[in-house]
């Protein structure tokens, strides 16, 4: 079965190079990718994820707001009984924060320098953390 993934930039920064490269690599690998674009709020992301019936949400942040915005996405998914949707992320996220986010329920955080292949494998193998 083809995986469906919603990718989005949450927060106010506009650094979309990474999310676009990852979106394209996943699409080329046969994943159905919906890129929601810049400055998506957690509410917009969760709404779109449910509407589009995706398997996973991939969020990218470079602004430092990850400890505010990613936990809210998890919270909203819980409220909407949609915790079957997996959340993963990337961007400028310090290691301690990544560890903390994983404890909260984020499946994986891909930092700078992650190979595209490892992200594609992650998606194709059912979103299991390495």
């Amino acid at each position: 079965m083809t995986a469906r993934v919603l990718t989005a930039k949450v927060g106010l920064d506009g650094h979309d190079r990474g999310v676009k490269v990852v979106s394209r690599a996943l699409r080329d690998a046969g994943v159905e990718v919906i890129y929601a674009g810049l400055r998506q709020t957690p509410e917009m992301v969760v709404e779109a994820a449910i509407q589009e019936d995706v398997d996973a949400i991939g969020v990218s942040l470079h602004s430092g707001a990850h400890m505010t915005l990613i936990p809210r996405i998890l919270e909203l998914l819980k409220e909407r009984n949609a915790t079957d949707i997996v959340v993963f992320g990337g961007g400028i996220i310090p290691q301690d924060d990544a560890t903390e986010l994983k404890k909260m329920g984020v499946v994986e955080i891909f930092g700078p320098g992650t190979s595209l292949k490892s992200i594609i494998d992650f998606v194709n193998k059912g979103f299991k953390a390495a």
Binding site: S23, L38, R39, S63, G64, A65, M67, T68, L69, P112
Partner: protein, 550 residues
């Protein structure tokens, strides 16, 4: 003579291929320009010193904009900094000025850059994170408290709301008794590259251009020491463009500002001397040097021949450089010091006027003081130990560098033609041309990395040893809470009737065609907040949504 030389070349070429190991074919620069293993005078046939180079400080400025370059004065070390509250940043500025620094460079936080007040729900979790939070004139007064604005120059990295922060700075000067003519500094204020790359746009392109032109006109008329716009390739490159695209798109943006300012009634020599540029220095050493040299030569010709500028200052491309943040790796973080040092040297051999070197840990978070100090020391080692400042344009005349400089110039010209064919820069933004070109280049770069056609040490080669744990800087939630409290106090204290009427006057002016700086000054002086002013302008101008493509 020529024949004998030719024969010698062929003999070398035969020996080059006859070794036990076949030499690597098809080498290219990082941007894909083909590279020969050796360059000779044959590669520069018909090349003229006078036409292509000239002397430093003279047209076409290929060798540098000043006659004495770093012998006269080394490049300016300008490290970009700022975080937290206006008060914290003010303390930092006073420390820097006490150390002998003459110029300040303000980093604003994301809500300020995007035109939101600190209590806006959209800015939650971002207040004071990547820079200082400024909501009203009160914050700007705090930021520069105890600092004489006629004694320093201030660079402000802000784009969509640049006119508002500019108005606030002028208002602070006025309160200090510093006249418009005495204020010196630079606004980044390059909205075109926001649509193209950094994506901190708010209004649609046309009203945004009007705001930029209003600041250029205002500075040209009243503030001879002010650079109203710093035309930036840095963000274009960081978003994934090639060196040629960075060069071409940046100069194309520059031409768009020149044309818009002429259309607004200025003469080219009234404003062009104060246009400045900002480039990236990436890791492909010679390509970057060629890019900087080509930029100066192209701009000089464009300004003189296309726009008829007569003042030599209008021909000179002065630029700031920052090393490539995007070349840094999370893996083996200390290697980033080495990368930054090579990039800094390329910028200096390319004749940069000022330089920021990145800290090794910026790939993880805001830099710690230790990392920021190593970055600063990297420039000092370059300036005082390596000897690179002693000879002007030391690579000038190299068969290779001159050929590569010509090649960069030709590549940029091909892009100028493509942009013209599509109807200019604004059309190319709206039809997604720039964004698509950059996304394709970024993807191609990653593809080469995945295929191991390109090596990044610690990422896809020599991956043993993660390096030590690197401490990172963090900003606590108190910053945001304190800022929101102060903002609410300003709103309670000011004359709200006056704020409302001045915002109405601004909207009326925005619907017409008068310069918006005077009504903006009225608004900030009544302590209207940045968010309120932006909301008023959004009512008139609307907001921009980009075409989504990847």
């Amino acid at each position: 003579m020529a024949l004998r030389r030719k024969t010698a070349y062929e003999e070398w070429a035969a020996r080059y291929r006859s070794g036990n190991l076949p030499p690597k074919e098809d080498a290219t620069t990082m941007s894909g320009l083909p590279l020969q293993p050796l360059y000779t005078p044959e590669d520069l046939e018909g090349w003229s010193y006078e036409e292509k180079l000239g002397y430093p400080g003279e047209f076409p400025y290929t060798r540098g904009v000043y006659p004495s370059m770093y012998r006269g004065q080394p490049w300016t070390i300008r490290q970009f900094a700022g975080y937290g509250t206006a008060q914290e940043t003010n303390q930092r500025y006073k420390f820097l000025l006490g150390q002998g620094q003459k110029g300040l460079s303000v980093a604003f936080d994301m809500p300020t850059l995007m035109g939101y007040d600190s209590d806006d729900p959209l800015g939650e979790g971002e207040v004071g994170h990547c820079g200082v939070a400024i909501d009203s004139l009160e914050d700007m007064e705090t930021l520069f408290s105890g600092i004489r604005l006629d004694q320093i120059t201030t660079s402000m990295t802000i784009n969509s709301p640049a006119a508002i922060l500019y108005a606030m700075y002028i208002a602070v000067g006025e309160k200090e008794g510093v006249s418009l003519a005495q204020l010196g500094g630079t606004l980044q204020n390059d909205i075109l590259k926001e649509y193209i790359a950094q994506k901190e746009y708010i209004f649609p392109p046309e009203p945004s251009m009007r705001l930029v032109v209003d600041t250029i006109v205002f500075a040209a008329r009243h503030m001879p020491r002010w650079n109203a716009v710093s035309i930036s390739g840095y963000h274009i490159r960081e978003a994934g463009s090639t060196a040629t695209q960075e060069l071409a798109f940046t100069l194309a943006d520059g031409m768009a500002y020149v044309e818009a300012s002429i259309k607004a009634g200025l003469k080219v020599d009234e404003f062009a001397p104060r246009l400045s540029f900002f480039f990236d220095s990436h890791i492909d050493f010679f390509e970057e040097i060629a890019k900087f040299r080509a930029a100066r030569r192209l701009w000089a010709r464009i300004m003189r021949d296309k726009y008829g500028a007569r003042d030599p200052k209008s021909w000179m491309l002065r630029f700031h450089t920052q090393t490539a943040g995007v070349s840094l790796t999370r893996q083996q973080v200390e290697n980033n010091i080495t990368r930054t040092a090579y990039e800094a040297m390329a910028a200096v051999l390319g004749g940069t006027n000022s330089l920021h070197t990145n800290s090794m840990d910026e790939v993880l978070a805001l830099p710690t003081e230790r990392a920021a100090q190593i970055a600063l020391r990297t420039q000092q080692v370059l300036a005082h130990e390596t000897g690179v400042i002693n000879t002007i344009d030391p690579l000038g005349g190299s068969y290779f560098i001159e050929q590569l400089t010509d090649e960069m110039e030709r590549g940029a010209q091909r892009y100028f033609d493509q942009i013209d064919e599509q109807g200019g820069v604004l059309r190319c933004i709206e039809n997604g041309f720039f964004q698509r070109e950059i996304a394709d280049a970024a993807f191609e770069f990653e593809r080469k990395l995945e295929a191991n056609e390109r090596i990044i040490v610690g990422v896809n080669a020599y991956t043993d040893g993660e390096g030590g744990e690197v401490p990172t800087l963090r900003i606590g939630p108190e910053t945001e809470q304190g800022q929101v409290r102060r903002l609410k106090a300003v709103r309670a204290r000011r004359d709200n009737t006056s704020v409302a009427s001045r915002l109405e006057e601004l909207k009326t002016a925005a619907r017409g065609s008068d310069n918006l700086m005077p009504p903006l000054l009225n608004c900030v002086k009544a302590y209207a907040t940045e968010g309120e002013i932006m909301a008023a302008l959004k009512e008139v101008f609307g907001v921009y949504r980009e075409p989504i493509l990847f």
